[in-house]
């Protein structure tokens, strides 16, 4: 019985990995003014950041419509597969609701398991890759779900912000909101863990912030999976990846913040998603 792995575009999975593992990605929506795009399909990441920096109002992002999930699930189930559908935290988005509604619309006992990753961006991405690995290795749907539930407890995504402008405009950063209010220059680090955003540190300069980030990642080693993230500063991401690879010995993936997190962290942001070894 084939097990198909489904996720959404907020996973920020690099296209090569999506292809390599045959992962199905349902696009979320991004709206600039009144134009609505399917993330990664109608608007590329480069275009997104261009518009983010030039548009007077910040874009809004929303979960994929139920129909998108329904169509995919239907196709996969009709082909005789089972599905494990893993998505970003319910506390950050209504995507899980959309997926759930689609499953119910199809049939309450369709062979679909919907899992909350408690994370976003490559935190979600790492959990999804683990699921894909297990599926290919012949694990059952139940085993995969159980592993996901363990994996998400050891997964988090650190984000380093270079500007507070987008956080101010967009809000919705929960527990980290007050932490990020500052007229003084800070390059803060927050993390998404256990489904929510949490404050981590408030260094004054980018250089110090990067050092702080590396230190925190190193303290969590050994790592089962790790990915650096960037949006407009690939060289910094490269350097960051090198440092982490050298000190933890892990294979470091590289990806870009997609539109959902990108809208909040703004340009020049950096991130590290990781799953601690279990």
């Amino acid at each position: 019985m084939t097990i198909e792995i489904v996720t959404d575009s907020t996973a920020d999975l690099p296209p090569e990995l999506v292809k390599e593992w045959g992962i199905h990605v349902v696009p979320c929506t991004v709206a600039f003014d009144d134009q609505v795009y399917r993330d990664g399909v109608d608007i590329s990441t480069d275009e997104f950041y261009q518009r983010l920096q030039t548009s007077p109002k910040i874009p809004t992002t929303a979960q994929p419509p139920v129909g998108e999930f329904l169509q995919l699930y239907e196709t996969l189930c009709q082909a005789g597969a089972e599905v494990v559908s893993i998505h970003l935290s319910a506390k950050l988005s209504a995507t899980l609701d959309s997926a759930q509604q689609a499953k119910v619309a199809l049939s309450a006992d369709s062979p679909i398991d919907i899992v909350d990753s408690w994370s976003t961006s490559m935190g979600l991405g790492l959990v999804v890759l683990e699921a894909a690995r297990l599926a290919q290795a012949g694990a059952t749907r139940q085993e995969i779900v159980q592993q996901m539930e363990r994996c998400r407890e050891r997964t988090q995504v650190f984000c380093l912000l270079d500007t507070l402008e987008y956080v101010r405009k967009g809000g919705r950063l929960g527990r980290a909101e007050a932490f990020l209010a500052s007229a003084l220059q800070i390059k803060p680090i927050i993390t998404v863990e256990r489904g929510e955003t949490h404050p981590v540190a408030r260094p004054r300069t980018r250089e110090r912030s990067i050092n702080e980030l590396v230190g925190r990642v190193e303290a969590l080693a050994p790592l089962q999976g790790v990915s650096v993230l960037h949006n407009t500063t690939p060289e910094d991401a490269e350097a960051l990846a090198q440092r982490i690879a050298v000190s933890t010995g892990a294979k470091v993936l590289s990806s870009r913040f997609g539109s959902t997190l990108g809208t909040h962290v703004g340009p020049r942001a950096l991130g590290v998603a990781l799953t601690r070894a279990g």
Partner: protein, 547 residues
């Protein structure tokens, strides 16, 4: 025959312009007073935008009579009114305009009459007027104006001034009329907005510049001001229980619009209805579970524009969650000692519950520190003295207060700021205390002030009146100007490339001078990042942190 004193249109226009600029300066402070879980809660922003719209219309019309000016402002305000407070303000202006229709100049009597009509117009606009809000302040200011007339002063400036005093007094009492304001320790935001407008205009009418004035955001009378408004748990629970639906706002344009009929129909469809305007233009604000019928009705009587629909439930959830987090967060509170408007704002913004005024010559007493600790409502309190002279009082306070008051012995404000940046409310107390202690040595502080007498110390000769720079409390350099002393000290500090220097300028320095000083520092220490911030501190022209 002496002419009755009166204001002309130009003067009034300039005064209102100044008032708008004041609203811009204080917008954030007014926004911070908001405790109501409604989408249009940014009162400062709303009133500013409404005034800007009023001003724009006044600029276009260019009528030099006061009647013409107010008519244009009222129309512009109606067009651009944002939020409840914006609409009420637009009604106030409408009432004023109606009261002085056709007048060339404004006498004292006319000022009072226009305020009376304005206040009445504001009350009529609300389906359920609430005392302890902007409405009360408007009513009281109009009564104060009438009283001033009755006492015999009839020049517009005195009447306006009297009205302003009335507004301030009423504003300070709003927490006693609306319990939630008292719990939060703030005055009504809309009331503060209108009071600020009154104050700015009064200032201009007296011939002074409102742009240079520092206006005070009103502290409630006899209510201890708390840095972070804490909304009571019962209020939050009640706020959660109510069904709100959607907040629907729009303009309707038409011919022969019947305001009363519109109010009746829409009033039946929802709550919190505000419908104001005239036969050709009506602004509507209403809360309803379904926007459909509201909008369908509106398009049946005219054309609609500026349609805005907000989900009140979402905003309310966020509001409740935000305030709940603030309550939880108060488990560990940070209290700092600082002087200067800028520093106070910085400490509060970064997470201090209470900032105690103190400094080189005005040290808070042990009792004041204890009071501050109590007000912060933290189960544990971390105290940042930010001055070597205050550390002793702080430790005394700690021994009196008991084990829940912890002192981080910061000797300068920059050290205090660095320690506060290291504070993370999600971490344990022990972890926070350790992290905050660690930061103290990472910051070098330079303070620049004027020498009160000549001295010679460590080969450094200083003449009285020269400027001296202290590095971590020790005399480091002297110069003929604050900037010179600063430059010398920075060069000496050996700030390496990659260091971050923050220059906080004080009350005795202009922003222009501060910018120049920042440039000179950048020039004398290449590779160093220089950040400029307003500290507003007395005595020290510059306080500088080198990290």
């Amino acid at each position: 025959m002496s002419e009755t004193p009166a204001i002309d249109g130009e003067e009034l226009k300039r005064a209102f312009s100044a008032a708008t600029r004041c609203l811009e300066r204080y917008r954030d402070s007014i926004n911070a007073l908001n405790v109501f879980p409604v989408p249009d809660g940014d009162t400062g922003t709303n009133m500013l935008l409404t005034m800007r719209s009023a001003e724009e219309e006044a600029q276009h019309k260019g009528d030099s009579s006061v009647g013409g000016l107010m008519e244009a402002m009222a129309h512009g305000a109606l067009l651009g009114a944002r939020g409840n407070s914006g609409v009420i303000l637009s009604q106030f202006l409408r009432g004023m305009a109606d009261g002085i229709l056709g007048k060339e100049r404004l006498t004292g009597e006319e000022v009072a009459r226009s305020f009376t009509q304005a206040s009445q117009a504001a009350y009529t606009a609300m389906s359920k007027p609430v005392e302890g809000t902007i409405l009360t302040v408007m009513r009281e200011l109009s009564l104060a104006a009438q009283a001033s007339l009755a006492q015999g002063s009839d020049d517009p400036q005195s009447v306006w001034e009297a009205a302003t005093q009335g507004a301030r007094a009423a504003l300070a009492m709003t927490p006693f009329q609306l319990p939630v304001l008292k719990e939060a320790g703030v005055v009504d935001a809309g009331g503060q907005g209108i009071t600020l407008i009154m104050e700015a205009v009064a200032c201009c009418l007296a011939g002074e510049s409102a742009d240079e004035r520092q206006f005070e955001i009103c502290s409630p009378a006899d209510v201890e001001p708390v840095a972070t408004p804490m909304v009571h748990e019962e209020y939050l629970a009640a706020a959660e229980a109510k069904e709100y639906g959607y907040c629907i706002q729009f303009l309707v344009r038409g011919d022969g619009l019947e305001l009363l009929a519109i109010r009746e129909r829409l009033g039946a469809m929802g709550n919190s209805l505000v419908a104001v305007g005239d036969s050709s233009l009506v602004r509507v604000h209403v809360h309803a579970g379904d926007p459909g019928p509201v909008l369908s009705y509106a398009v049946s009587v005219g054309t609609i524009s500026q349609v805005r629909i907000d989900n009140i439930d979402e905003q309310r959830e966020e509001f409740v969650a935000h305030h709940r987090r603030q309550r939880e967060a108060s488990k560990v509170a940070v209290v700092a000692v600082a002087q200067g408007e800028g520093f106070t704002r910085i400490f509060r913004e970064l997470g201090c519950s209470v900032v105690v005024a103190g400094g080189q010559s005005m040290n808070p007493s042990t009792q004041e520190l204890l009071d501050a600790a109590r007000h912060s409502a933290g189960a544990d309190v971390v105290l940042l003295p930010n001055n070597p002279n205050i550390i002793l009082a702080a430790s005394q306070a700690a021994s009196l207060h008991g084990s829940s008051l912890h002192v981080i012995p910061s000797r300068t404000i920059p050290q205090g700021i660095a320690a506060l940046l290291a504070f993370n409310e999600e971490q344990s107390l022990e972890s926070n205390l350790a992290a905050m202690m660690e930061t103290l040595d990472t910051v070098k502080t330079i303070e620049v002030t004027q020498a009160v007498r000549s001295s010679k110390l460590n080969d450094l000769e200083v003449a009285k009146g020269q400027h001296i720079a202290l590095a971590d409390g020790e005399m480091a350099a002297a110069g003929d100007s604050p900037c010179a002393a600063l430059e010398a000290a920075v060069s000496q500090s050996g700030a390496a490339s990659g260091a971050h220097v923050t220059l906080y300028w004080g009350a005795d320095v202009t922003e222009g001078d501060a910018r120049m000083a920042a440039e000179r520092v950048t020039a004398c220490a290449p590779g160093v990042e220089v950040e400029l911030q307003y500290g507003g501190q007395p005595l020290y022209h510059y306080i500088v942190s080198v990290e």
